[in-house]
């Protein structure tokens, strides 16, 4: 699962996804990375509260529900990261004065939770058929004490790491849309991690394509 | 400041009429009025397994085949022609919403008011936009019930000079069942004040206007200071109304006037003391009986 950076291969844990699995939301998806899994549901474009109305675009609300207890500061900050990523990829101006609600339910946290949230969010938004300028995916990299880069770390690996970075990467130009970092690292390490993440993102985008293709296989 | 303190005591209600205590026409919810199917179901009743049953506590009233139960007190059930006093709660498109103590806010349509400039004036789109200048939230009005909507809401109108916006005065909110239906509900009392006894239980006391000039469609209100004597009279009348209401005496011009006269030997602030109240009401009832008899 971990490899020396630059010498060969970095692994992503096995991942899976199921779309349209809930009957109520307009779009839903669950995303699994190893044991980490997140369920996402999207409602919208729907009626918006007057207080939250924005005259020229849709209001996007992102809620992250932890598995135990009530959402706290950590969830709020993750919500913000996810929301900003989604706002950047969604064409919100096409649905002014309406609301989009994205709810993410953590089903199990075994590391790389934020990236799993991002991936689940993207699949759910796609399932809801909301207009997007591009797709995005999340990749988490950990740098362990030996300076090795581990992609998609598990909870234990996260704990042992020196630095932890999560990037949201867009599908068209593989640019970084959002980054969230923790711990100390050098500029070079950051650049390496971004490069690794961009590489990894291609796998994920290919996976997106395969799952959507599979989903539409009956209507082809 | 001298404070008047008293301990709670049990008071017997005062009453002159000593009618029989077990009246048969009083029913409580769930009481079967009749099992005869020949009757029509009126207000305050329902049919349960072919039996006409009361749904409120009150007096049974029968008009031919129609049976209704009139509860002791209830919200205002307006009928066409009733005079009401109400408060504007909302300005909507082409209409005002008026709180009139009924179960839904009443509606005063823009087309049911006299706008400044005479009866024949056409209502323009501009009038719709300036509705708040005529009447705004919190204003009091007197009006007449024009019609009743299917859901029970009342439609009001003020298309007469006697109705319109109310200026300076005192509003007393009482139970609608205490207001006696009469030919007129507008009285200039000889004691120096005027009264509007709204059928909805809202009573408006105000200084008698000097000259009945044609004001600007009833939307103009005088802000001239009211003299102290006038204010005292109004305050006394207000307390008299409360005293009468506390003893469930029906309100109309004569009863109010008699009560006012009976109260003159007391100070205004003392009228609401229970024993004074009792005394005044007893006096009033005696006078009323004498007048009737």
């Amino acid at each position: 699962m971990m490899e020396v950076c630059g010498s060969g291969i970095v692994n992503l844990r096995e991942f899976g996804c199921e779309q349209s699995l809930l009957s109520r939301p307009d779009g839903s998806a669950s995303f699994i990375q190893g044991d980490t899994s997140v369920l996402a549901g999207v409602y919208g474009p729907a009626e918006v509260k007057v207080s939250k109305e924005i005259y020229d675009r849709a209001t996007l609300e992102v809620l992250i529900q932890p598995k135990v207890g009530l959402p706290g500061v950590k969830e709020r900050s993750q919500e913000q990261s996810v929301r900003e990523t989604c706002e950047a990829s969604l064409l919100l101006s096409l649905h002014p004065r309406s609301s989009l609600t994205l709810v993410l339910q953590v089903l199990h946290d075994d590391g790389s939770l934020l990236s799993c949230c991002l991936n689940a969010a993207c699949m759910a938004l796609m399932d809801a058929g909301l207009p997007m300028s591009c797709l995005f995916c999340g990749v988490t990299c950990a740098i362990d004490t030996a300076g090795q880069i581990i992609t998609d770390p598990t909870a234990t690996q996260e704990k042992e790491s020196r630095a932890l970075m999560t990037f949201a990467i867009d599908s068209t130009e593989h640019r970084v849309m959002m980054s969230s970092t923790k711990g100390s690292f050098s500029v070079h390490e950051l650049q390496q991690c971004i490069a690794v993440s961009q590489k990894a993102s291609e796998k994920i985008f290919q996976f997106y394509r395969d799952s959507v293709r599979r989903r539409y296989s009956k209507t082809l | 400041m001298a404070a008047d303190m008293r301990l709670p005591t049990i008071r017997k209600t005062v009453s002159l009429s000593v009618s029989a205590f077990d009246r048969k026409d009083l029913v409580v919810p769930g009481d079967v009025i009749t099992s005869d199917t020949g009757f029509m179901r009126g207000h305050g009743t329902y049919v349960d397994e072919d039996k006409l049953t009361a749904s409120v506590a009150g007096e049974v009233q029968r008009v031919d085949k129609l049976i209704c139960v009139r509860p002791l007190k209830t919200r205002f059930n307006g009928e066409v022609g009733d005079v009401v006093v109400g408060r504007i709660t909302e300005v909507q498109q082409k209409r005002w919403k008026v709180e009139t103590n009924s179960r839904l806010d009443s509606v005063l349509l823009l087309s049911s008011v006299n706008l400044p400039g005479g009866e024949l004036r056409r209502r323009s789109a501009e009038d719709e936009l300036t509705m708040r200048e005529y009447l705004q939230e919190g204003d009091l009005i007197s009006a007449e019930v024009q019609s009743v909507f299917s859901d029970g809401a009342l439609s009001l109108h003020t298309r007469s000079l006697k109705y319109g916006k109310l200026g300076q005065g005192v509003l007393v909110q009482l139970s609608p069942s205490l207001i006696k239906r009469q030919k007129t509900h507008f009285h200039n009392l000889p004691c120096g004040a005027s009264i509007i006894l709204g059928n909805n239980g809202f009573v408006w006391l105000y200084p008698t206007p000097g000259q009945q000039e044609e004001e600007a469609g009833g939307f103009y209100t005088s802000l001239e200071p009211v003299s102290l004597s006038d204010r005292e009279v109004i305050s006394r009348l207000r307390n008299c109304l409360l005293a009468l209401a506390a003893h469930k005496v029906l309100l109309y011009d004569t009863s109010v006037l008699y009560c006012y006269e009976s109260s003159l030997q007391h100070q205004v602030k003392d009228i609401l003391k229970p024993e004074v109240m009792e005394e005044i009401v007893l006096l009033t009832q005696q006078k009323l009986l004498e007048q009737e008899g």
Binding site: I9, E14, D35, A46, V68, G69, E202, D210, S211, K218 | -
Partner: protein, 439 residues
């Protein structure tokens, strides 16, 4: 956000159908929808699917100071979270009527019935006790949240293991699962709620109302019971007038339902235990049905990063495309303690004649539909499935008929709901099985 309003036409039709003893999803009056119980990776994590209603329960524990008036007792805390995901009408962090109702009902059902030995949760009297917290998240609301939540909560509590502790003097040592095996809670009995909805002033009665039925119903009667036929709580709600006879009748039906559901929970727990013992992987990830075209899974993926150094030096430069990898569709699923999903089960079978021929025809149609979907699906997929056999043994499905007995399903293929929404076929479990057996 507001919920879609209910039209007069839906209301009238539903009531008319109920008068004719028919339900939109083809169930009988006393039928439950398909019940599926799955477990997560952690101890104390349980997913319950009741038709399209889906809830998740997670039990957690913490050492806290006990309540002053009960120094020797652990603390039980319950919370049902109506996530906005479950329905557009649910709002974040608002104590809605429904939320209060469900939470209190769950508290009453599980705490007041004293089904858990709270005294065994005491570590040091007056100082440290275990607080057991049960979070129930509603993920999809399609009616009867109460029953789903109560099943999820009690199953999760049964599944839960708390860390072992030891006391030496004032020192409390909490052992990690590697050091000492965690300990299950001691549970005396399992109260389970059964919801009855009443229509037309109590003339008609349905078990396990769906969301639409809930919107039309006059009122609800919830009876919590355990399999020893002890009533743990009763709650009527909604503006209905009940008669004593109706309550008695409901309590009789409830006792039958409760014993069925209890058996099912035991079965699911047993399956999970075996699976965990066998050392197989378990958890949510494993419960995803690969047979649906909406689901896809990919094995551990290597990402080639040989050129990363160059890339890193010039981040803007786009990285080389990596070789395309065909995702594998096959993920053998060893230990999923799963109930439902149309696999073979081990219950005894009996079937009585159904008096409603037409009803069956309708079910039949759906039945065929899904059966065909499966065929088609296997053709469509690149690789055959091996998952079927491996799971066949440990999956149970609950379905029941008006005659209050249990019916078993013998599907030919591992999954009867291969398509995305799984809408129709999913909930038809009960009635479908009848048809199969008649053939």
């Amino acid at each position: 956000m507001k919920d879609t309003p209910l039209s007069n036409c839906e209301r009238d039709f539903l009531l008319k159908a109920i008068e004719e003893k028919k339900r939109l999803d083809g169930r009988q009056t006393y039928d439950y929808r398909k019940l599926k119980i799955t477990f997560g990776t952690d101890y104390g994590c349980c997913f319950v699917d009741l038709g399209k209603t889906r809830v998740m329960a997670q039990v957690s524990c913490e050492l806290v100071a006990p309540k002053e008036n009960r120094p020797n007792e652990g603390i039980m805390f319950f919370n049902i979270e109506l996530s906005p995901m479950a329905s557009p009408a649910f709002e974040q962090s608002r104590q809605s009527e429904l939320s209060v109702k469900l939470n209190r009902q769950l508290e009453r059902c599980l705490r007041n019935s004293k089904c858990i030995d709270t005294e065994s949760l005491c570590v040091a009297s007056g100082e440290k006790v275990w607080q057991i917290r049960t979070d129930v998240h509603v993920l999809n609301h399609d009616g009867n949240l109460m029953d789903a939540a109560s099943i999820a909560a009690i199953t999760a509590l049964r599944h839960f293991r708390r860390p072992d502790v030891s006391i030496q003097g004032d020192e409390v040592t909490v052992y990690s699962p590697e050091e000492r095996d965690p300990i299950p809670l001691s549970i005396y009995h399992m109260p389970i709620t059964v919801s009855f909805s009443f229509f037309q002033q109590g003339t008609y009665l349905l078990v396990d109302p769906s969301e639409q039925e809930e919107r039309v119903m006059d009122g609800l009667l919830i009876i919590a019971m355990n399999k020893h036929r002890e009533i743990c709580s009763i709650q009527s709600s909604g503006g209905i007038m009940l008669l004593k006879e109706q309550v008695m009748r409901c309590s009789k039906i409830a006792s039958v339902k409760v014993s069925e559901i209890t058996d099912l929970i035991e079965k699911a727990l047993e399956n999970d235990k075996t699976a965990r013992k066998a050392g197989g992987r378990c958890g949510y990830a494993e419960s995803i049905t690969q047979e649906r075209i909406t689901a896809l899974k990919m094995d551990e993926t290597p990402v080639e990063v040989t050129d990363v150094k160059e890339t890193a030096s010039d981040i803007i430069q786009k990285a080389e495309p990596s070789p395309h990898k065909v995702p594998s569709l096959v993920v053998p699923v060893p230990g999923v303690g799963q109930v439902g999903q149309g696999l073979k089960n081990t219950w005894g079978l009996e079937e009585e004649d159904d008096d409603d021929e037409e009803e069956e025809e309708e079910e039949d149609t759906n039945d065929n539909g899904s059966a065909e979907q499966e065929e088609d699906l296997t053709v469509m997929e690149e690789e055959p499935h091996k998952t079927g056999e491996s799971r066949e043994a440990n999956v149970v499905e609950l379905s029941d008929s008006e005659e209050e007995e249990v019916i078993i399903l013998h599907p030919e293929t591992p999954d009867r709901t291969p398509k995305n929404t799984g809408s129709t076929s999913h909930q038809k479990g009960a009635a479908k099985s009848k048809k199969r057996q008649k053939k």
